[in-house]
């Protein structure tokens, strides 16, 4: 079993975040660890969650 990639999404539009989350989920290769609409929270989360990928708007 291949280890899933992990991702974090930063976007100020909730709809865009959901859309991306859905698409990533469908690939079955990526687990989305979290998302945020502001930078400070994003940085704090990324430091803690250590995702492989960060999607930025």
């Amino acid at each position: 079993m291949i280890k899933m990639l992990t991702a974090y999404i930063v976007d100020d539009e909730p709809l865009a975040r959901d859309e991306l989350k859905y698409l990533l989920h469908r690939t079955k290769k990526v687990k989305v660890l979290g998302d945020s609409d502001n930078m400070e929270e994003a940085i704090a989360d990324i430091i803690i969650l250590k995702p492989d990928l960060v999607f930025l708007d």
């Binding site: 990639l5 974090y8 698409l23 990533l24 400070e40 704090a44 990928l53 960060v54 708007d57």
Partner: protein, 461 residues
């Protein structure tokens, strides 16, 4: 939009380069004009909205291939950053200093350098806060602000500041701000403390109702008044024997709680001979509880003294001066002492009761306001309002009765003008808070609930 808040996604991408492990950055945006800049900022990929599933798959495959190559080529590096017995190396003036994590009070970034404040030293190092943060493996360290990391063991006090932010006072008296984003990490601690308080309150209620009413009144009224009630104590004589204490006419909640808890505990088979032990244990437990209240009260008094008298005597206002702190603390302690000296423990006890009930009222007022702001239905507010009405009415009636019949009645043994004046001040402040709360509720009430809930989401830290 590439503009997130005031800062751009590009800024975030640059900041993420300092994070370890550095994540791969993928811009997912509706605009293509930033692509060039984005790639300069070490971006892995750039995908355009609307999203295309195949494009995302392709990007993921590319990433996984790259990851495989990187893993094969680079064996795990033997890092200098691993902690040996909780110590970690920092470079100060071209020397390597091994710093013990336990000695660090806090870390602060300023002018591109990080200041590390320890018990005995201050170091300036050429590293980012982010890279230092990952070296601090201990769970004791908490990022409380964009430019501050604190060692939680050195937090002495948490002071509320403007706009629902907080200041931490460290044990060396230095102050550290907590930004709103990071307040959320401190919240579980506060909620936990509140839950413990609630458990104690429920325990006290359980203890009170588990007693026979006749026993309850025997403990909580003076022997003369009790005789008028015409009640017969049920288990009280037996309990008195078991705990080896006089229990009749011991007003105030302490004895009731202790007797109630003893009554419950001794029903457990293995504890049946330990009644005296449990009674004293609960009394001790309450003493600790009250001491924390007095401790918190003294600290608050100290701040008020420093803040108010600091307007006239400038050096007193300096919160970081140990002499100002000691002087203000001494004044606060003297004031406590004077209250005790001018009356006795039972007169202070009654004042303490009034202030405690008023504090509970304030808690319920805040609770009601929060519920109004965040709950889906307005009538949920009643969970706070109903106890508030009961509490507020009883404390005001009792407070007024004490002022009129005891403190300011020269014929009464408890005649004490200071206590009377203090009670009046407390009740008046209580009324001011109540009135301003009601005005606030009236304002909030006019705003439609969904709008209120939406607003509070951005407001509540």
């Amino acid at each position: 939009m590439i503009e997130l808040d005031e800062e751009s996604g590009l800024d975030l991408a640059k900041q993420l380069e300092n994070v370890d492990p550095t994540p791969a950055i993928i811009f997912a945006t509706a605009y293509d004009e930033y692509a060039l800049q984005a790639f300069e900022a070490n971006t892995f990929d750039y995908i355009l909205k609307p999203f295309d599933e195949k494009r995302i798959e392709k990007m993921l495959d590319k990433f996984m291939n790259l990851q495989k190559i990187v893993k094969e080529e680079m064996p795990p590096a033997n890092e200098l950053t691993t902690d040996y017995n909780g110590r970690f190396p920092i470079i100060v003036d071209e020397r390597i200093v091994l710093l013990s994590q336990d000695e660090i009070i806090y870390l602060e970034t300023s002018d591109g350098k990080v200041k590390i404040k320890t018990i005995n030293h201050e170091y300036k190092v050429d590293e980012t806060l982010v890279s230092l943060e990952k070296k601090l493996h201990s769970k004791k360290f908490l990022r409380v602000h964009r430019s501050f990391i604190v060692n939680m063991e050195y937090i002495a006090e948490i002071q509320p500041w403007f706009n629902s932010t907080y200041n931490l006072v460290m044990k060396d008296q230095s102050k550290v701000p907590v930004s709103r984003t990071y307040v959320k990490d401190a919240k579980p601690v506060a909620f936990g403390a509140m839950l413990v308080e609630c458990i104690v309150a429920v325990m006290a209620l359980v203890a009170a109702v588990s007693l026979e009413p006749a026993d309850y009144f025997a403990i909580n009224s003076s022997p003369e008044k009790y005789a008028e009630l015409g009640m017969e104590p049920v288990h009280l004589a037996h309990l008195e024997d078991e705990v080896n204490m006089d229990l009749e006419g011991r007003k105030g909640g302490a004895v009731t709680l202790a007797v109630g808890m003893t009554y419950i505990f001794k029903a457990v088979p293995i504890f049946e001979n330990l009644a005296a032990y449990f009674y004293q244990f609960v009394i001790l437990f309450e003493a600790v509880f009250i001491l924390t209240a007095i401790d918190a009260g003294t600290r608050t008094a100290r701040y008020l003294i420093q803040d108010f008298f600091g307007n006239f005597i400038k050096p007193l206002k300096r919160m970081d001066s140990i002499w100002a702190n000691i002087t203000a603390s001494a004044i606060a302690c003297f004031a406590w002492g004077y209250l005790l000296f001018s009356g006795d423990i039972s007169s202070v006890w009654a004042l303490f009761g009034v202030s405690n009930q008023l504090m509970a009222s304030i808690g319920l007022i805040i609770g009601a306001t929060v519920i109004l702001k965040i709950a889906d239905k307005r009538w949920y507010m009643l969970t706070c309002l109903i106890p508030l009405i009961y509490l507020y009415v009883t404390v005001n009636v009792a407070g007024f009765w004490m002022i009129k019949n005891v403190y300011l009645n020269s014929a009464n043994a408890g005649y004490n003008v200071i206590n009377g004046v203090l009670s009046v001040i407390m009740l008046v402040l209580g009324i001011v808070i109540m009135v301003s709360a009601i005005t606030k509720w009236a304002q909030l009430w006019k705003i439609p609930q969904p709008e209120l809930v939406k607003r509070s989401k951005s407001e509540v830290a």
